[in-house]
Amino acid sequence: MTENLNIRIIGIGGVGTHLSEYLSRYFNYVKDLNVEMTLIDGDEFERKNHERQTFTTYSNKGQTKCRELSVEFPNINHTFCRDYVTNDNIAGLIKSGDIVFVAVDNHKSRKIISDYCATLDDIILISGGNEYHDGNVQLYVRKEGIDRLPRITDYHPEIEKPADKLPTELSCEEASVSEPQLLFANIGVAVLMTWTLYYVLNTEKLEYSEVYFDMMSISVLPKKRNLKNR
């Protein structure tokens, strides 16, 4: 019997480009599985991104990566969306039953996505981020309308009350400013997101809701945290 899997990757940049390739290669060769993968990003690929991101043309990131992956991995139905996620469009981008990967640059987007996912009956949300040489990946699972793991905002006040802005709220000057990132940190997040997906799809008992890594101590550490009373 063939199953359906709907994957949404939000943010096709330093993490999302690598993640979309790893997931496409993996699922392209899994039998009896129909995979639809939607690549969502409102940003354009620029020359300054070359050192961390893999694109063949200067255009919208989601659209470009969608075209590239469709050629290499034809068993997957790749689609794209040229928008940033906002409160206004999120209902059209994420549905109950989806697996959502969040690889964005700001906590305000994470908050919007987390809050919306918490209103759905069934969702797997995997959110990642990095600083220069460390980072983390969070896992939120909701089944049959009940939280099975803490929400990504629950133990992170910086996401619950974000101090940053959405990409759509930034001025041109603000948007042009970006802090340096390391390719290996981006790849580290992407790899841990794939591990997290494999964990959630194959474990019977969900325990871990977050994993941290630190390249300067060559360490990876998963965390168990309790559900909040609601």
Binding site: G11, I12, G13, G14, V15, G16, D41, D43, V102, A103, V104, D105, N106, H107, R110, S127, G128, G129, N130, E131, D134, G135, N136, Q138, I152, Y155, H156, P157, E158, I159, D164, E179, Q181, N186, V189, Y212, F213, D214, S217, S219, V220, L221, K223, K224, R225, N226
Partner: protein, 168 residues
């Protein structure tokens, strides 16, 4: 690294804030030099507390207060016997009692002898080793706890590291 020179460069209000975070009482109206001495003394004591014990110092199974007079002077009549519990009686000698608990922050983790200490105190003691910030919240055994929570045998303490902000 806290030094006398680095403390002398700080304002008295900053030093008083440090005292609050370090759990040093009675410094709200003290002079700057007195506050600095108190901080340095606390740092030295903390370093001694956290220093690993050498093999020549066997772990006491039962510690009895010997100098009752000095205890009476400070604790006003409180006396008692402090016991270490054998929670692993079948383990090999030297490993039958545990007083170490797991403390982590982000991907960094280790075991430390901090049973009986408050979360706030541990945050101060391990701030450099675990690269902690004063604002990090604490979770014990998966639940948020206040900073005055006293750690118990078997607890698992995590200082929540902020989520990575970038990915795009």
């Amino acid at each position: 690294m806290i030094t006398k020179e680095s403390l002398e460069e700080k304002k008295v209000t900053e030093l008083r804030g440090m005292c609050r975070n370090m759990g040093i009482p009675g410094m709200s109206k003290k002079r700057k030099d007195v506050i600095i001495d108190a901080i340095l003394k606390t740092v030295q004591n903390s370093a001694a507390e956290m220093a690993p014990k050498t093999k020549s110092e066997p772990t006491p199974i039962k510690s009895v207060v010997k100098d009752q007079k000095s205890v009476d002077e400070t604790l006003k009549g409180v006396s008692g016997t402090f016991n270490t519990v054998y929670d692993r009686p079948d383990s090999r000698a030297g490993n039958r009692a545990s007083t170490m608990i797991s403390v982590s922050a982000g991907a960094l983790s280790d075991k430390f002898p901090v049973v009986g200490k408050s979360v706030q105190r541990v945050m101060f003691l391990l701030r450099e080793g675990l690269n902690l910030k004063e604002t990090q919240s604490a979770v014990v055994n998966g639940e948020n706890v206040p900073n005055d929570y006293i750690l118990k045998e078997g607890d698992r303490l995590e200082f929540i590291k902020t989520a990575g902000g970038k990915a795009n």
